[in-house]
């Protein structure tokens, strides 16, 4: 590689949401997009189900770091993934959820089946 002229690759797809998936042992982390609505939910559902089956996932972590909008379609995604892993004794977590996301999660009652991870104040 040319040391003086490093080449940077930017991958910006217009209108495409950014969703990253990370598999560590039997744990899948889904880094959710900025807005989790019906439009985005469909793709997350398909992709994560493939990963869950392929990697024998037992623990699913939804990372809300980037997310500032969610509606009932998002709740559907969480409930669906819970259904997939709970027969195997797995569990579902939500991390980095802001106040708004926590409100939506609590209102929907989905907090009865998933756990919200609270970071400690530093």
């Amino acid at each position: 590689m040319d040391e003086e002229h490093p080449v940077f690759f930017f991958c910006i797809k217009k209108g495409e949401m950014k969703v990253k998936y990370q598999v560590q042992e039997n744990c899948l982390t889904i880094f959710l997009p900025r807005e989790l609505d019906h439009h985005n939910a469909e793709r997350i559902r398909r992709k994560s189900d493939r990963l869950i089956e392929k990697n024998h996932i037992k623990c699913v972590i939804f990372d809300f770091e980037e997310t500032n909008f969610m509606d009932s379609s998002g709740i559907g995604v969480i409930m669906g993934r819970y259904r997939m892993v709970y027969l195997l004794g797995g569990e579902v977590w939500a991390v980095h959820a802001n106040e708004r996301m926590k409100k939506i999660l609590t209102m929907s009652g989905v907090t009865k089946i998933i756990q919200i991870y609270e970071e400690e104040e530093v």
Binding site: D37, F69, D71, S72, G80
Partner: protein, 151 residues
Amino acid sequence: MKNTNEMELLFDSKSVNEGFARVAVAAFMTQLNPTLEEVADVKTAVSEAVTNAIIHGYEKEIDKIRIHCRLEEQVLYIEIEDKGKGIENVEQAMQPLFTTKPELERSGMGFSFMEAFMDEISVESELGRGTLVKMQKEIGKGRELWITQSL
């Protein structure tokens, strides 16, 4: 004379338009000087109604969804209408967790969210003719008046 303002949107029932619809309504309501919480509430309610029209009203067809917004003083009125297949039993559809499409992982929370985030909601529907969702929300309710004091 009352201070009023109106706008209307007409768009295709494609899921990519869900984001557009809620952001457009949110932008329209900013003239009422809403809190972030109020904007988020309205966005969620609009998203639910538009998603319903796309998934249930038109199923796989592409047709038009109409959103009509009216501001009257501090109250925002929203109407979301589709000309789709209609709802057989509105009362049942509005029950929390009731869904006709569990295979699509619908949580059945759509109407519950609309009820929770808006002050009032009513649903008119006729089989084969479509559905009209009317919602309203008073903006700036309970917020303390900002009084500028002279130094």
